[in-house]
Subunit: 197 residues, 2 copies
Amino acid sequence: MENKQYLIAEARREQIIKAAIEVLRETGYVSTSLSKIANKANISTGLISYHFSGKEDLINNTLMYLVQQEWVFIKEKVEQKQTPTKKLMAFIEASLAYQGTNRENNIALIEIVFNARTPDNVPYYLIEDDDEDLLNDLLQEILRKGQKSKEFSDFHPQVIATVIRGAISESMLSSQHKLTLEEYNEKLTKSILQMVK
Amino acid sequence: MENKQYLIAEARREQIIKAAIEVLRETGYVSTSLSKIANKANISTGLISYHFSGKEDLINNTLMYLVQQEWVFIKEKVEQKQTPTKKLMAFIEASLAYQGTNRENNIALIEIVFNARTPDNVPYYLIEDDDEDLLNDLLQEILRKGQKSKEFSDFHPQVIATVIRGAISESMLSSQHKLTLEEYNEKLTKSILQMVK
DNA sequence: AATAAATTTGATTGGCCGTTCAAAATAAAA
DNA sequence: TTTTATTTTGAACGGCCAATCAAATTTATT
């Protein structure tokens, strides 16, 4: 026991969030309880209630943490490229890469999005967060600029954005193709470009 | 109270399944309990346990019922068309139409797929049911035949199938585009054809 | 009509849940 | 050091859950 036994609040909050992510992946949302999270983090249950106003608050903070992680990773990769075509390719590659290397985070995110509901009982997966979906905005901006520069053909940007993001999400779930991440990325990118060019 | 008070077993089972679908949509998987389902169906909780071996059994039967409903609907529409291109268009249109007109069923299906886990704790959404995913098989067959007849270009059928199904799933969730079902179907089909031709 | 089989009820049981809170431990401030 | 603020514990509470089962009701058979 050489660790500092008490961490300041912010570090403790992050520790709890990380424990929540682990438990979400291991047992699923339905079986995720505060006592399991507390156990995973080696703290008492009461401490979670001290740092978060309740289970819902903890879940929401965990979701924000997960969304932020993915956003930062993908945004950075996209910004390194200059042309819309290259940015689009970077977007796809980075999305697949993030899902490949942060599988635990992605599963936790799925568990939350498809389970949590607002106080008035609306599932998170049906919420239209027009202003909060940063990845969607980024992708749409790439598509629009590509159309302006004539690299891309004339299509409805939101529809194509939906197709691309659907393809990325689906590929995380269905591993029915027996391809490596690189092979899959190459084939997916080729088809998407065929569609937008 | 003019209904027959007692139904035979098969009818009772279906009644319970339909009540389960309603409760799943209204309250979400997490809050779905046998007593709520019993209440919705105006029967006692014990009766559910009499007709199903447990909650898990009921959920699995509900899932099979939902998958079957969608499968029959789409399969029929596809079989009415002759060429791979027309079959593909019918597949997309029927998938979107089913989701549009059976929203309650689709939400219940999502709630189950993203929550239920096998006894050894594998989420349903990660199971690779190679032999059980009839819709995937149907779509792949269409794509392969289209390649044989030279209507479609040379691509990896499973990858494209994943893209198409992802686009369809995603479109149910993200209604960020403000298009009608018909408009969306038209634009989506156009883009998909651009990709496979 | 009498008996057997199938169906339905509803109360009960034991278990896990999220939250609360007084008391203890630690850290910070004076 | 003394005092105050922050952090942590762990037990206790009320609530809902899935499952069980004996008793009651209805249907089928003889």
